[in-house]
């Protein structure tokens, strides 16, 4: 057969085709039986390897999640820092950026924060602290590498302010809550919701510099016969969510007036619908008679 096949006298290809045709159904039956067994035995042998792989993947996943969360935190800090730098740049203030490292307990009825900058960084008592939106706090006490500041919403915090453009003076004080209280010294002056408030500035610009944005009026309290006018002011900065701030160590040469205020919100255009009505000719009595 070897000789015949070598000589090419044996139809080997045809025989193999026939054999393949006959055996293939049996092969597929056996294959379908063996496949689960093969998978099972394979799983048993590679169980340790798979477990290791899953464990490694879980570790990688946790590491990636941690890195992503760290990156998000860094992105937020960069965003906060950029807005602080923008505000300081616009006001030509010299600032020292700082991180909040601790916050006083609410149970002590005071709103204090601890910053990671101190006298070694040029910080002194009664300097103003700003965040991206505007005024945040003032320095209460300074240590070598840390300082303590009183937040704007503390009940003992008071800042002299003026209303945007009109120049009417008043005093904004903390309430212990998220809103501030504005008391206008002149009860005859105009007070409207939406008016914005900036710091008037203290003597020698300490603790407050003129022109630093404070907040916007959200409610006007109408008390008949009162000698002063009062309103509720929402600060530009959410004092519960700040992490990066800046201490103003020296002011610019000029008063920025209202230049540091954020752009006023654009009024949302009200969509108007124009309906074109083409009057149909009123039926004349003669034509209606004709149809009837």
């Amino acid at each position: 057969m070897i000789t015949l096949d070598l000589r090419g006298n044996l139809p080997s290809e045809g025989l193999r085709k026939v054999s393949a045709t006959v055996s293939s159904p049996f092969q597929s039956v056996f294959n379908s039986i063996y496949r689960p067994i093969s998978t099972f035995t394979g799983d048993i042998f590679s169980l340790g390897r798979t477990r290791n792989k899953i464990s490694n993947l879980q570790k990688d996943n946790a590491a990636l999640k941690e890195e992503l969360s760290r990156k998000n935190a860094i992105t937020n800090e960069v965003k906060d820092l950029k807005s602080v730098l923008d505000l300081a740049g616009a006001g030509r203030y010299k600032i020292v950026p700082a991180r909040i490292i601790a916050v006083g307990s609410a149970a002590s009825f005071s709103r204090t924060i601890q910053l990671d900058v101190g006298s070694a960084d040029g910080i002194k008592k009664d300097m103003s602290i700003i965040a991206g939106g505007g005024l945040v706090a003032r320095i209460l006490s300074v240590a070598q590498s840390t300082s303590i500041a009183l937040l704007m919403d503390d009940e003992t915090f008071k800042v002299g302010v003026r209303l945007e453009s009109s120049g009417t003076s008043g005093v904004v004080s903390g309430t212990g809550g998220s809103d501030l209280e504005l008391i206008l010294l002149d009860s005859t002056s105009d007070l409207r919701v939406g008016q914005r408030v900036v710091a008037r500035g203290s003597v020698n610009s300490q603790p407050f510099l003129p022109g630093v944005p404070v907040g916007v009026i959200t409610q006007v309290n109408q008390i008949a016969g009162a000698l002063t006018k009062s309103a509720v002011v929402k600060p530009f900065v959410d004092l519960n969510r700040i992490s990066v701030v800046a201490v103003i160590v020296s002011k610019g040469k000029t008063d920025p007036r209202d230049a540091l205020l954020p752009a006023p919100p654009k009024p949302i255009p009200t969509p108007t619908v124009t309906v074109f009505v083409t009057p149909t000719p009123a039926p004349t009595p003669s034509s209606s008679d004709a149809t009837q």
Binding site: G104, A106, A107, A143
Partner: protein, 170 residues
């Protein structure tokens, strides 16, 4: 002495945790005071005079904390008095002292009285503190109701460790 030292170290660690972590989270109403929960719970589990001493020490730690703005000694006075009172109650309820429900109710009430006493005594010594009373007190009391059952097992364990330390040395 050793027990009080253990208490002071624990209280300092908890106050640091409070100021660095808990107070930075924007909780609704007001932030919980883990420090007050710890001090009042400890006082409830302690004997009267030792509780008064430890309350005084805890208050002093709070007074000298850089983030405190009031007069030094105010918290020490308030916490010494409240700790003595709470401990007296604990001695009366000796049987159910370590029950989580009793501890939660007593600690929450204790925190409420501490804050009220702090504001009243502050007003008597002309301090400008406590105007936000109506916002702060309900928030702190609410969160103490939530947090006390969660952290009381840890405080009880710490107290047992401290008692062990105290007896083995003394």
């Amino acid at each position: 002495m050793t027990k009080s030292l253990f208490f002071v170290i624990s209280a300092s660690v908890i106050l640091t945790f409070q100021e660095v972590v808990i107070s930075r989270i924007a909780f609704p109403f007001a932030n919980p005071s883990i420090f007050l929960i710890f001090v009042i719970s400890w006082a409830f589990l302690e004997d009267q005079w030792l509780a008064a001493l430890q309350g005084f020490l805890a208050g002093f730690i709070l007074d000298i904390s850089p983030l405190s703005v009031g007069v030094i000694g105010h918290w020490a006075f308030v916490l010494a008095a409240v700790s003595y009172g709470v401990s007296e109650l604990g001695v009366q309820l000796r049987g159910s002292r370590r029950s989580p429900l009793t501890l939660t109710v007593v600690v929450t009430a204790g925190i409420f009285f501490t804050l009220v006493f702090f504001v009243i005594s502050g007003a008597l010594i002309s301090l400008n503190q406590g105007y936000g009373f109506t916002q702060t007190v309900p928030g702190v009391v609410f969160w103490s109701l939530v947090f006390t059952p969660l952290i009381s097992p840890l405080i009880i364990k710490l107290k047992r460790v401290a008692d062990g330390v105290g007896t083995s040395v003394e």
